[in-house]
Symmetry: C2
Amino acid sequence: MKEREISDKEIINYLQDTLYVINGKWKLPVLMAIKRGSTRFREIQRYVPPITSRVLSSELKLLEQNKLVTRKVYDEIPVLVEYTLTTYSETLFPIIELMVYWGKDHRKVIAGK
Amino acid sequence: MKEREISDKEIINYLQDTLYVINGKWKLPVLMAIKRGSTRFREIQRYVPPITSRVLSSELKLLEQNKLVTRKVYDEIPVLVEYTLTTYSETLFPIIELMVYWGKDHRKVIAGK
DNA sequence: GTAACCAGTATTAAAAAGGATACCGGTGAA
DNA sequence: TTCACCGGTATCCTTTTTAATACTGGTTAC
């Protein structure tokens, strides 16, 4: 039994759905920061300069809504907040990694004439 | 001889370079439209609704600047303008295709809970 | 001749994204 | 006690993006 082909309109819709989730300058860099080991708010902020706390705060909320990031609060003294990736977010990293390599090459393409 | 590892900062920079090129709602859908066979201005516009001609016009210029699209003018009567993909743009399609499939699944993930 | 299509441009406005700066209450170290 | 760090929020402002609408000059189809 064969899968139905994806129509032109569906392709555009799916693509736009993805773009809607990852849009803007910050969401993917923030995910990458967490992936690379930054879990604390200030830590992420230092990793992805020069994002302001206002913007980082709102990006993290959107990432949470899209089930890409989990926010955990530990009731220690002082209170500790940790951001971690969901397992679902792993599905996004093949795309992000391709984008990293593409950006690296693109720099050469544009510079090299 | 081993390649040097990419540092944290470079990763973020390359990623941001890529995001800078593809940012916004329209550039990737426009590339996809051309890929799927739309070469004329109005044809692309119909393929990617509801983009206005003003926005499409400026997106196409940016795509040209980044060597992803070629604009050819045929001096016929009436004048004919054709947009085609560069071979370089092919390097972007693995990313775009992953994004199409990711968007398809993401819809289920968000809806299904 | 009038309507419609072509490839856009012009003008204006609205909405969204992002940035600057200051500040909060709490803790901990010097 | 003063300073710095933590995880943010509040307020205000600028820039960027996107949209709405109209229009141009030329061409073909009815």
